[in-house]
Symmetry: C2
Subunit: 206 residues, 2 copies
Amino acid sequence: MSPIAKIKTDGSTEEKIKDAARKLFMQKGFEATKTRDIANEAGINLALLNYYFRSKEKLFEIIVKENMGQFMEIISNIVNNEKTTIQDKVEALVANYIDMLTQFPDMPLFIMNSIKVDPERIKIRQRFSGSYFMKQINEAIKAGKIAPMNPMNIMLNIVGLTIFPFVARPMFLNKGGITIEEFGTLMQERKKLIPGWIKSMLEAKK
Amino acid sequence: MSPIAKIKTDGSTEEKIKDAARKLFMQKGFEATKTRDIANEAGINLALLNYYFRSKEKLFEIIVKENMGQFMEIISNIVNNEKTTIQDKVEALVANYIDMLTQFPDMPLFIMNSIKVDPERIKIRQRFSGSYFMKQINEAIKAGKIAPMNPMNIMLNIVGLTIFPFVARPMFLNKGGITIEEFGTLMQERKKLIPGWIKSMLEAKK
DNA sequence: GTCTATAATTCGATAGAC
DNA sequence: GTCTATCGAATTATAGAC
C-alpha cells in the first residue's frame, strides 16, 4: 500500500509524526508549518521530531517523496498498459486522479509548489513521454486517426481539465460559493464528461 | 496602467520596494520571502520597508491586491461586453490570459496560494457567474444551441486549459525538459487551439 | 524512547542619529 | 527620508535527565 493511502496507521510514533506532518505541510506549506504544530498535531513532544527525522527539512523531503510516488504510481500503471486503448487510458487517468484528489484535495497545489522549489523532484513529464500511451498517440496521429498536434497538448489537457479544479478549489468554497458536497458532485460529473471532451479534441479537424 | 504591467518604475523608493517584493513574493511566497531579501533586492535599507509599509504583512496585502486587480480587470472587461459572441469571449479570454501569463508565469500559483490562505481575497468566480457571458451561456443552453451542462464546467475548462500549463510550468522546464522558448511557442499554439476545443465541447451531444 | 529545559539562530520591527 | 544598531519574539535543534 502506498504511504499516503494509509489513513489508519500502525500507531507508531514515527507514523504519527509523519501523518501530522503530511496534513500540515499540505495545508500550509513548508515555511508556514512550524515544528511545534506538527508535534502538537501528532500529540508528541517536540524533541521527538528531531529524534526520528533529524530536521524539519528531512521530514519534509520524506513527505514530498511519498506524495510524488503516489502520483507517479497511478500514472505509470495506467499509461504503460499495452492492452488498453487510448480512450481507456484517458478514462482511467481521469477517474483515478479525481478519486485520489477528492480524498486529498490539497495535494495538487502542494506538489506544484514543491516542484517549483525543486524542479528535479519529479519526473511526471518523462513518465508520460516515454510511455506506451505516447507511442499509441503518435501512431494514431501518423495513421490520421487523431488530429495532428504536439502530443504535449494532449497530456496538458487531460491533466489540466482533471487537476485544475482542485487547484482552484479554494476559490469555489468561499463564502457565497458552493459547498464541499456540491464541489464533490461536480467532480464526479466531470469524471464522466472529461473523457468525452478529450475524445472530441482528438477528433477535431482543424 | 495597471500596477503589475508597469515594469519600469518611477524610481522612487516606495516603488523599488514594491517591485522587489512583487518579484520575491511571487517567486517564493509570503513565508519564504524575508524582509531582508526584499531590502537587498530593492537596494535599500531594511528599516525603510517598515517606514513605507509598516509591516511585511501590509506590503504583501498591497502586492496581492494589485495582482488580483490585474486578473479581474481582464476578466470583467471581456466577460461583460454585450456586443461580442460567446466564441469571441472565449478567444479574448484565452488570448489575454496567455499573453499576461507569458509575461508573469509565476502569477497563477501565487494567486492560488493566496486564495487558499485567505479565500475572501478574490471574487473571480462571482465575476464570472454574474456576468453577461453567463447569461449568454444559459440562454444558449435553453435554446438547445449548446450541450446542456453545469455552466461551471465551461468556466473551469476555459480557465483550466489556459492557466494550468503555467501552474505546471516548472515541471516542463527542468533538466531534460523543454526550453523557455519552446514553452512559449507551445503556449502561442494553444492560444489558437483552445477556443476550438471549447467550441467542440459546447457542441458535443451526450 | 520520551521528556524538560535551553542553546543558537533567524527574523520582523523599532529607536534614535543624521 | 535614510541609515546603524539592536531589541524581542519566534523557531529549529539539541543536551541531558529519566
